[in-house]
């Protein structure tokens, strides 16, 4: 790519990040953060990482921005006084303690830079990477090397990752226990509602294709599952928050999530039982198929489906937990500060 163009994109990235830091209004900062996320995803595709670009766009720019906006709208209901204007205005644009912190951050930056300079910005491939590039197709049957690394060679990490999402979703359910849904304003207009009825099936089809073709092209369970969760968020935005809650009970999503996790662990146990090691693929007897066709990759498509089910149900119930109105009273609301 043209170096000037890439330099410009990096500058834009830094500018968005700095503006997310310096803007006074929280909503503007959140939107700047979202733009930062999209630009970062573009930078990832420039750096030849399509899988990561897709995941970044869907999860960080899509899901996290919507959760930010939900949290912002939940806290906008009651505000006491001004929150984010600086009380003390000195001559300098920053207060003194902020200058100190600025110097600390610049120092941190220099310190981190020193670790990279001696390597001369060259990349060291290493044995592991060469092995993956040369043998992933043959040993796992998948065309997407990153999916092979994620679900076969380092599948144990992926088990940990789904446990992190599981913990987060459980935790958010705990934090918002004892609240109920509020019939929000009636959603959006009639035209939007009618058109969503055409678009939603296509979104679900797109999500399914991302999940099922994860071993052939960039994509996989995490990305597809998040797009599925996005479809359920569309329901909330377009039709009002009690629409989906009335039709799909929260415990259905919890059951789907647990089933996805247990399915993943179960597929791993098959490998353990045949003596090949936990989460083994070809060695455990999964048929590897012909590389490049739909039926290939051994256990990788199955693991993708388990993860997609789990992530979709989990993130959807996370969103719906946060949309509830907090009604339970709390004991010991603090009065004045000591």
């Amino acid at each position: 790519m043209n170096p000037a163009l890439t330099g410009f994109i990096f500058l834009l990235l830094i500018a968005t990040a700095v503006s997310a830091c310096l803007m006074k209004d929280i909503l503007s900062s959140v939107i700047a953060l979202s733009v930062f996320g999209v630009l970062l995803s573009i930078v990832f595709s420039i750096l030849q990482a399509p899988d990561v670009a897709l995941t970044q766009a869907v999860i960080n720019s899509g899901m996290i921005t919507s959760i930010f906006l939900v949290a912002y709208s939940q806290t906008m209901k009651v505000r006491s006084g001004e929150d984010n204007t600086r009380v003390i205005k000195t001559y300098y644009p920053f207060r003194t303690d902020e200058m100190v912190i600025l110097f600390i951050c610049i120092g941190l930056g220099f310190f981190l830079w020193k670790g990279i300079v001696p390597m001369g910005f060259s990349s060291l491939s290493g044995d592991a990477a060469n092995h993956y590039i040369n043998f992933a197709g043959v040993e796992t049957g998948a065309s997407n090397i990153v999916a092979a690394v994620l679900f076969d060679y380092r599948g144990f990490d992926t088990l940990g990752e789904i446990a992190v999402i599981f913990t987060t979703v459980t935790g958010i359910s705990i934090l918002f226990e004892g609240s109920r849904y509020h019939r929000s304003s009636s959603g959006l207009s009639f035209i939007v509602r009618r058109s969503m009825a055409f678009v939603i099936p296509l979104i679900i089809l797109y999500a399914s294709s991302i999940v099922l073709m994860g071993h052939l092209s960039p994509g996989g369970g995490f990305q597809g599952g998040t797009v599925l969760a996005t479809a359920s968020i569309c329901f909330c935005v377009v039709y009002g928050s009690s629409f989906e809650a009335a039709r799909i009970h929260p415990w259905i999503k919890e059951t789907l999530e647990s089933t996805g996790c247990l399915f993943f662990a179960g597929l791993g146990l098959i490998g353990l039982c045949t003596g090949a090691g936990f989460l083994a693929n070809g060695a455990a007897g999964f048929p590897l198929g012909t590389q490049g066709t739909f039926i290939s990759g051994g256990s990788i498509p199955l693991l993708n489906m388990a993860v997609g089910m789990k992530v979709g149900a989990g993130l959807s119930s996370l969103f719906y937990s946060m949309v509830k109105i907090l009604e339970a009273p709390f004991e010991g609301i603090p009065g004045e500060v000591e």
């Binding site: 060679y153 380092r154 144990f156 940990g160 446990a163 599981f166 459980t170 059951t255 247990l262 090691g277």
Partner: protein
């Protein structure tokens, strides 16, 4: 096979519980007990097999440099045992009649257990990061579990912010090591770093040190610890102070003795300094506290200081003493938090000044409280004294006079604040009346007392000193670890 099962059993238990949420309470309790019992047995088995014959399990069947290797070796077995005892006791306490039974609490407990076992079993740096994150997220949520109290939520948020910053530094360190060597397996990285001398290894070492001291709660970043450990329920505080901080100590030992062995002269003195400062801060801040649980939390910071001083001596004796102290601290601190919880709920307040006379109301609990404080202060025949003595000996062996003096100073200061509580407990007349219900917590507290006495008797047996020697030698000599992992 064992290393995987140790992680998989509690994880499957956690995944299974939401499927059972609409069944009757008896079935859920049965499943929890079954999963807990199996996990406990799994940990004990893992500890024994790791000690007698170190095992490696290659996940997916791929060799260590391509896939993920799970290892049980003599370093992880004492910690596995510690986790089994700690989590087992907390599980029994969670069935106490005074606690409202919530299956989600058990989901978090099992996830935390699986994460701890994962950290103790893994040989891969990024896998360590992932399990460390499961461990941290479940810890934040356990702290915030009593959601009706604003203190707990605030403490949970503060812990989350600190913990996330620590996680990011951890990942920076991992990425730097990957940039330098191209591997993520700890044994391979260690070998690659030893064979290439020109790399700036102190930068990832500094990143890891910052990350681990934030996550452990050592001196400059201990600010989250008193809030989190005091605002949580007593049960959770006992788990956090007793077991979960020790897991971070394990990561300290594993990382700095295996991976960064090239940097020995730089890193271990830094650990000594951090340990000394944590000791001072912990004890001095504890003197000023009126809230009993906050005092105990600052005391945890101080004892972390003792353990870090032990590690910082960088000798077999130092490592042994630190691990022995970790066991003693677990037994005594869990006992203290649980008894403090019983006393505080009986009196209705956590302020020490209002606990007068409780010693006469609840004599059994108070006697145990006195026993546990004696262990932590270091009264001679008890195990606390033995482990502090070993640490001081290790310091003196290395000509580190200042930490040894600080240990003695710390003993004096801690006796000051503990005696204040005991005097308050036994002053005046009993006013509240005795309580007749003996919940499950009382059994666990008794168990902890018995454990302390057993640990005190251990140094009398020569088997114990031999065990400590084997442990120390394994930690100091990493070629055995590397041969185990890098099977050609």
């Amino acid at each position: 096979m064992t290393p995987v099962l140790v992680i998989l059993i509690p994880l499957t238990g956690a995944f299974l519980l939401p499927l059972l949420q609409f069944l009757s309470r008896k079935i859920i309790v049965l499943v929890v007990c079954l999963a807990g019992g199996l996990s406990f047995l799994g940990n004990i088995w893992g500890a024994c097999s790791g000690w007698l014959r170190p095992t490696v399990h290659l996940a997916g069947g791929w060799p260590a440099h391509i896939g993920i290797a799970l290892i049980h070796d003599p370093l992880s077995s004492p910690f596995l045992l510690l986790a089994a005892l700690g989590f087992g006791s907390v599980l029994i306490c969670s069935f106490d009649r005074t606690e409202k039974f919530s299956w989600r609490f058990h989901v978090l407990l099992f996830l935390s257990w699986a994460a701890v076992n994962g950290i103790l079993s893994t040989g891969d740096l990024f896998n360590l990061y992932v399990f460390y994150e499961i461990f941290s997220v479940s810890a934040y949520l356990l702290v915030a579990f009593s959601t009706m109290e604003w203190q707990a939520i605030e403490a949970g948020f503060k812990y989350l912010v600190f913990g996330t910053v620590g996680a990011m530094f951890f990942l920076f360190g991992t990425t730097y090591l990957f940039l330098f060597t191209g591997y993520l397996n700890m044994a391979r990285i260690s070998e690659a770093l030893m064979s290439e001398p020109g790399l700036p290894v102190f930068i990832p070492a500094a990143c890891f040190f910052i990350a681990l001291s934030i996550k452990t709660g050592a001196f400059p970043s201990h600010f989250w610890l008193p809030d989190a450990h005091s605002s949580a329920k007593s049960l959770v505080s006992a788990l956090l102070s007793g077991v979960l901080v020790m897991v971070s100590i394990y990561v300290f030992i594993r990382l700095f003795s295996v991976v960064f062995i090239v940097l020995k002269p730089l890193v271990f003195p830094l650990m000594l300094g951090t340990g000394s400062l944590s000791l001072l801060t912990g004890h001095l801040m504890a003197l000023r506290q009126d809230d009993i649980k906050r005092l105990l939390a600052y005391s945890t910071v101080a004892h972390l200081g003792y353990i870090l001083i032990g590690l910082g001596c960088a000798s077999a004796a130092g490592f042994n003493a630190a691990i022995y102290h970790a066991f003693n601290h677990m037994a005594a601190k869990m006992g203290l938090f649980l008894t403090a919880g019983i006393l505080a709920s009986h009196a209705g307040t956590r302020k020490i000044s209002e606990l007068s006379g409780l010693g006469w109301d609840l004599p059994f609990v108070s006697i145990l409280f006195v026993l546990f404080t004696a262990v932590l202060v270091g009264v001679p025949p008890l195990n606390g004294f033995m482990s502090k003595w070993y640490i001081t000996l290790a310091c003196v062996e290395r000509n580190q006079a200042i930490p040894a003096l600080l240990i003695i100073l710390g003993t004096v200061i801690s006796s000051g604040y503990y005696l204040r509580i005991i005097r308050r407990l036994f002053s005046g007349k009993g006013t509240q009346g005795t309580s007749k219900d003996r919940g499950a917590t009382w059994y666990v507290v008794t168990l902890m007392g018995v454990l302390c006495i057993l640990l005190s008797l251990l140094p009398l047996f020569p088997v114990f000193t031999d065990t400590l020697h084997i442990l120390g030698n394994w930690i100091m000599d990493i070629s055995m670890y590397k041969d185990l992992v890098m099977i050609p």
